[in-house]
Each structure stands twice: as C-alpha cells, then as structure tokens.
Amino acid sequence: MEAFAYVAAFLIAGILFLAFILTLAKWIRPNRPNVEKLSTYESGEAPMGNANIRFNPRFYLIALMFVLFEIELIFLFPWASVFHHPDLEKASPVWSSYALVEMFIFIGILALGLALAWVKGYLNWEKPIAPSLPNDSPIPDQAYQKIRDKYVSK
C-alpha cells in the first residue's frame, strides 16, 4: 500500500509541475487574439464544414480486434508470473509442463483467431491502386511484350 502512496506523490508532483509551467507561460507570453488567428487551420483556405469527418471504418475493426487480443493478453500476465514458480513446482512436479501445455492451447486459439481475421481480410488495409495511365506513346504496346515475357517467365 505504501508504494502506491508514492505513486500518488508522483502524480501530484507531475500535475503541479505542469500547472506551474502553464501558468508561468500564461503570465509572460503576449495575448492578442483576432478572428483570423483563432480560425481552424486548413492549409490556408477558409475551413469547410465540420471537422468531425467520416473516416475509414477499418479503424473501428482494428480497435475491436485490439480489445479481443488485449483481454487474452491480460490472461497471460498472471500465468507468466506463476509459470515455473519453485513452490508450485515442488507441490507437483508436472506443474510446469501442465501450465505450458494449457497455455499452448490458449495461444493456439489466439493464433487461430488471428489467422481467421487474416484469411477473412480484416487485416488488409486498402492498398492504393495505381491509376492506369492512357498510352499516348507512338510505340505500340506489343513492342514491350517481348521484354515482359523475358523477365516475367523467370
């Protein structure tokens, strides 16, 4: 318990330090706001619409999967600290092997889940598709075919 009192001491010291710096900065810096300065910066243009834009839903998928894996990770922490514990080892000689096999099954399920997400394509970030440029060149496309065949077949 005593150690956590020092945690609180650290927290309070940190907050005081930040408050001190911010207050000091507030005292000595100039403050001359105007409408232009306070407007949202959008590369020099006048800001358009609301800033809470829609973004790629894949971020939500990542967050969901993170929650799943993080919970599995939390189960691993207590296991790691008792795995191969000398007292438990003494109590039953097969403890370590038992704990290890159990955890192999657990990590196996974890890996299976990851493999499923991988195969289903949830981990694929949309890759940029290079636009196909119109071929204005006077050289016909077939002229390159020989070179393509040469390198692609290897």
Binding site: A3, Y6, V7, A9, F10, L11, A13, G14, I15, F17, L18, I21, L22, L24, A25, R29, P30, V35, K37, L38, S39, T40, Y41, E42, S43, P47, A51, N52, I53, F55, F59, I62, A63, F66, F69, E70, L73, L76, F77, A80, S81, V82, F83, H84, S96, S97, L100, M103, F104, I107, A111, L114, W118, L123, W125, E126, K127, P128, V152, K154
Partner: protein, 374 residues
C-alpha cells in the same frame, strides 16, 4: 515517526531527482537530435547559442514560453488543454518505476535509487504507456481540425496495434523472471546474465514496438508532414506544442531505460564486484546509475540514427507489419521461451528458435515469394 519523515523526505528528493534527470535528458536530447542529424547530413547544426550551441535547449524553452498561444475558436477548450498535459503526465509517470540504481546507505538509512518499487512495476509501465494514447487522441479530437483528427486516429490505431506485440514480448521476460517488479527483473540479470542473450527475438520485437509507441520515424505517421500538415498537433502552439514535443523525447529516454532494464541488465555493468571491493557499495551503486543512463542514452542514439536511415512507412505497411508480422512472431517467441524454460536450457532453445525461424523464412522466401512475382 522521525524515521518515516526521513524516508518521506528522501522519497520526495528522489521524486524531484527522477523528474530532473528525465527532463534534463529530454531537453538535451533535442540538442543532440539536431547535432546528430547535422553530423549525418554533413552539416554543422546549432552552434550560435553558447559554445557549440550548448545553450540551444534553453533558447528553445524561452521561445516556447514567449510565443503567443491560440486556442482555436471551434475547439473544445478544456480538452484542448488537457490533451498535451495528459501526454506529458503519462510520459513523466513511467519514469517512476525505472530502477535507476541499487540501494545506497547514507547515515544508517538505506535508500533505493528508484522512484517507487511497486510489485507490479512493468505492468505499470505497460498501463501508463497505453494511457499515452489518450493524450494524443483528446488533443487531436478537441482541435476540431480535420488533419488533427486523422492524425489522432492514426496514432491511436498504431499504438494499440503495436501494444499487443509489446505486451507479448514483456510476457516472455516475466516467464524468465517470474516477477512483475522491475527491481527483481534487474536483480535476476546481475553478473552478466542479461536477458538479451535469452531473448534476442523478444528484444527485436520490443524495440520495433518502442519506435511505434513513441511515434518516431519510421512510424511517425500521426505527424506525417507530407500528408497531415502537423498531424495531431496542427492547431497547437506555444507551451502546449512544447509539451507534445517534449513528451516524445521523454518517452524516448524512458523507453530506452525500460529496454535497458528488461534486456540489458539495468544498472548492471562489468566489474561490479571489483568496484564494490575497492570503493564500497555506495560508489558501485552510483556507477550503476551512470551505467543505466548510459545504456538509455545509447538507445536514444539508436532512435536518432534510425530516424535518418529509414524512410517513413506507408500506413498499410505499418498495419501489416504490426498485425501479420510482429504479433505472430511474438506468439512464436512465447512458445519457444516456454519450451526452453521447461527443458531447462533457455539459452540453447532461444538460439535454436531463432535459427529455425530464419530457416523457415528463407524457405518461404525461396518457395513462395519468387513464384508470386512470376
């Protein structure tokens, strides 16, 4: 009662000293970042403020204080202030559990050269590091700016993805030591039994994740100038911007210290016994503090070195590396480590695991990757 007061004063001094070390090192990291960048690009770097530009961090701090501070009219004012403060606070709090040195005895009382020796030390670091996402997320959201929001989402997504692999790398360390206390993790590694020899793969995973968690190049997509202006701190100015930038340098130093603690024996150095015999245990402890800080600064140098060596990733590459590269690798590492401890030869099995992995990757490369191109 008197003893408690003494201990409390000692702890207060240690809190102050830990903060001072962290902030001082972080301040001078900015100077050395610029000097090292200059060296690598064949320039001179900052040389005007004081001899060799040594007062440059001071000049930067004065500039940060004197600049006018805007809070954009459309922003959420309190969250806008809370963002950088949270970022800075989480960066400072991780330094609390780093064991800077062994104990020293002054006037009959023994002090640990460590902020707090909580029994969940490494879990504390892990938890606080994950809280660091909130600082960026809140700041980016409260700015009410499209670029800041995108940067914040990128940062959050990136940090949570790399946290998983990082957690699994930490678990392998716990399996070896059987304790969550940072002090005990260091004590197990004394006399050259550093974890790096037993966990080479774990260390590689951990250092890559540390780069991602600190938002350093090549993983600095949240503040990618070419795409997002300034990323999550686009709207910030003056001291609040300073907090964000400073938090990054503190995180760099602390992650260096954590890596030294977990993998490089913490305050252990060759010849501890000799120094203890010659000069007493107090001197040995203080040399140990120097050793730890030296190791952390070595890692800070690696951070800077990599910044000017490897270009920035694309976002899909970053996500692929995290989810389909590092997490399976970390799982493999947990299995190999568990097997090694069970057999009783952790060193041999870890090397065998690494060799097996490289062989498997080589075979995969030979069989599949070339066919895919064809």
């Amino acid at each position: 009662m008197e003893l408690i007061t003494t201990v409390f004063i000692a702890k207060a001094i240690i809190v102050g000293v830990v903060f001072a070390i962290t902030l001082g090192v972080a301040a001078y990291s900015t100077y050395f970042e610029r000097k090292i960048a200059a060296f690598m690009q064949d320039r001179i770097g900052p040389d005007r403020a004081g001899p060799f530009g040594i007062l440059q961090p001071l000049a930067d701090a004065v500039k940060m204080f004197m600049k006018e501070d805007f809070i954009p009219a459309n922003s959420n004012k309190w969250l806008f202030i809370a963002g950088p403060c949270l970022s800075m606070l989480t960066a400072l709090m991780t330094s609390a559990v780093v064991p800077f040195g062994d104990s020293v005895t002054i006037g009959g009382a023994t002090f640990d050269l460590q902020g707090i020796d909580v029994n969940i030390g490494i879990l504390w670091v892990f938890g606080i590091v994950s809280l660091g996402v909130y600082g960026i997320m809140i700041g980016g959201w409260a700015s009410n700016n499209k670029f800041a929001l995108l940067g914040a989402i990128r940062a959050a997504s990136q940090n949570i993805s790399y946290e998983l692999a990082m957690g699994m790398a930490i678990i392998t360390i716990l399996m070896i030591t059987g304790s969550l206390s940072t002090k005990e993790i260091v004590e197990v590694q004394q006399n050259g039994h550093w974890n790096i020899f037993y966990q080479p793969l774990g260390f590689i995973i951990f250092i890559i994740c540390a780069f991602a968690e600190c938002n350093r190049t090549p993983f600095d997509l949240p503040e990618c100038e070419t795409e997002l202006i300034g990323g999550y701190h686009t709207e910030y100015s003056s001291m609040k911007l300073g907090f964000y930038l400073f938090a990054e340098y503190i995180n760099m130093f602390i992650s260096g210290a954590v890596m030294a603690t977990l993998y490089f024996g913490g305050y252990d150095y060759p010849g501890v016994d000799f120094v203890t015999q010659q000069f007493g245990s107090n001197v040995a402890s203080f040399v140990g503090v120097g050793a730890l800080i030296g190791k952390s600064l070595g890692f800070v140098f690696v951070f800077m070195w990599v910044r000017w060596t490897i270009p920035r990733f694309r976002y899909d590459q970053l996500m692929n590396l995290g989810w389909t590269g590092l997490i399976p690798l970390a799982m493999y590492n947990v299995v190999v480590t568990g097997f090694g401890i069970l057999v009783g030869k952790p060193f041999m099995v870890s090397i065998a695991g690494l060799v097996l992995l490289i062989a498997a990757l080589f075979v995969y490369d030979q069989l599949l990757v070339k066919k895919k191109i064809a």
